[in-house]
Amino acid sequence: MRHEIRFSGYGGQGIILSAVILGRAAALYDDKYAVQTQVYGPEARGGASMGQVVIDDEPILYPEVTEPDIYVIMSQQGFEKYGIRAGMDAVMLLDADLVRSRPDCRHYEIPATAEAKGALGREIVANIVMIGALVTATGVVSREAIERAVLDSVPKGTEELNQKALKRGFELGERA
């Protein structure tokens, strides 16, 4: 089954990296197909950033996202620019403290940034918390696959922190 996942937030949160990690998990560790694309604008740190992934069990022909069925939104501006038109059948995970609006579709409030800053002590891993929540809330890739893809993608020396962030995300997603 084809899934189209869109990530949006502000530049600097690791939005694009989140999309790459998810695509990597599906394509390399879950025996699925994935295409990752992103908006290539002059988005500087702070501007609305957007990355997308198509995941399918069969080879992906048309590579672009047309109507995402899963959204991960980590800023108000990101919601307004890339999330506001979500269809009624979509699922949205949003960072509860950074997004004021709520969509009409099914949505889960994930306190990713608060958790990252608080219990984990590093705001920078908020995107990894979000990815963990995404995986348990939607099952779009397996836990094992996402864990391997996260470990591939983070700087050396930060593996433990990122594993903790991912695990916290798993818990938040299960509760969602």
Partner: protein, 366 residues
């Protein structure tokens, strides 16, 4: 040992070049091609090669030509405005029969246009962009895997025919990430060496002379002026010019069948899509969603020299449909080779045709 990666098209292009033995890159960064230069800058020195960040695109292609004449596999990568700046020396490479690879990650033009959006607007420029008559080879990948495969193949074609060879990709394929399998080794076919006793620009039946790069022990004079088989200028004799330029064109055009690379789906079809690059993926999606033997697809991986014989694979064709990310460029080539109507489906602005858009056209023309 082959390995599997999840990587960007531009990164796969650099990997393909390295695997094919490219050992020189001269370039100037430009969106959306820059990741190729970045990857080559990181990896070429470790592979024993040379990366030079040149002052501009005129110098980039000039350095590539110089490196090729030392016998190295050499390449540059650019996009629209940089490609335009390279045109004069691309003609020089054609005239001097310099094997080299130029990657163009196409973006919206004209001029600086849309740096971050995709286009296929340089398809005629890569064939006719420099002055005078000549011929070139151009390949059009539609996936990250083909960014690897066709980049490697471009070097073989450039060497075999001693001609500038283009990888005509675009922002969509250059920037998307997909799974790619990188083989442990790629078989490489280098140019045939210049035979003992042969003149440096003396060609056999296939029209391509053997190659004696600088340092090979042979004295070779290289000039962009019309030259004789020794390589010395002969600029006023009509016959000398006629013989040389006809050979430069014929060595590529007469090898169309050998160079051709295309896929055919449903050869009995009545309505036939002709595509190259990413619009092919929209057509493939439409054909998967609506299985129908009356719809066919010819997907070109090599667009120049144009394989007009591939159009004859569809004897029942009543209409050809050609989606391109431009206002209709390669469609002219299809139109001049078939009697049936050829409908251009142009799209500019940076986005790929959607399946729904092609279905609408399909319904209008069936």
């Amino acid at each position: 040992m082959s390995r599997t990666e999840f990587m960007q098209g531009n990164a796969a292009c650099a990997e393909g070049a390295l695997a094919a033995g490219c050992r020189f890159f001269g370039g100037y960064p430009i969106t959306p091609s820059t990741e190729i230069a970045e990857a080559m800058a990181r990896k070429l020195p470790k592979a024993g090669g040379v990366f030079i960040s040149m002052e501009d695109e005129l110098a980039s292609i000039a350095a590539v030509i110089g490196a090729a004449w030392t016998g190295a596999r050499a390449m540059t990568a650019t996009s629209g405005p940089g490609f335009s700046l390279m045109m004069e020396n691309i003609g020089y490479a054609a005239m001097t029969e310099t094997p080299c690879v130029v990657v163009n990650i196409q973006r919206g033009g004209p001029s600086t246009g849309q740096p971050t959006r995709a286009a296929q607007g340089d398809m005629l420029q890569c064939r006719f962009g420099s002055h005078g008559d000549y011929s070139t080879i151009a390949l059009t990948p539609n996936s990250v895997q083909e960014m690897f495969d066709l980049t490697a193949k471009a070097f073989d074609l450039a060497d075999r025919y001693r001609v500038p060879t283009f990888l005509m990709s675009d922002e969509i394929v250059g920037h998307m990430r997909e799974r790619v399998t990188i083989p442990g080794a790629v078989e490489v076919e280098r140019p045939r060496p210049l035979a003992e006793g042969a003149l440096p620009f003396e060609a056999g039946d296939d029209g391509t002379p053997g190659f004696a790069p600088f340092g090979s022990g042979r004295a070779v004079h290289v000039t962009g002026l019309t030259h004789d088989e020794r390589g010395y200028p002969d600029t006023t004799d009509p016959e000398a010019h006629d013989k040389l330029v006809r050979r430069l064109v014929a060595k590529v055009e007469s090898a169309r069948r050998d160079i051709a690379d295309y896929e055919v789906v449903n050869p009995d079809a009545e309505t036939v899509f002709v595509t190259y690059g990413p619009p092919s993926r929209t057509v493939e999606q439409v054909m998967r969603d609506r299985p129908d033997d009356s719809i066919g697809h010819l997907r070109l991986r090599v667009v120049w020299p144009f394989p007009e014989f591939a159009l004859k694979v569809f004897p029942n064709a009543r209409t050809f449909l050609m989606p391109e990310l431009n206002m209709g460029q390669m469609v002219r080539e299809v139109q001049r080779h078939v009697d049936q109507p050829v409908i251009s489906i142009p799209k500019i602005g940076g986005e790929l045709h959607t399946p729904a858009e092609l279905v609408r056209v399909l319904e209008a023309y069936r």
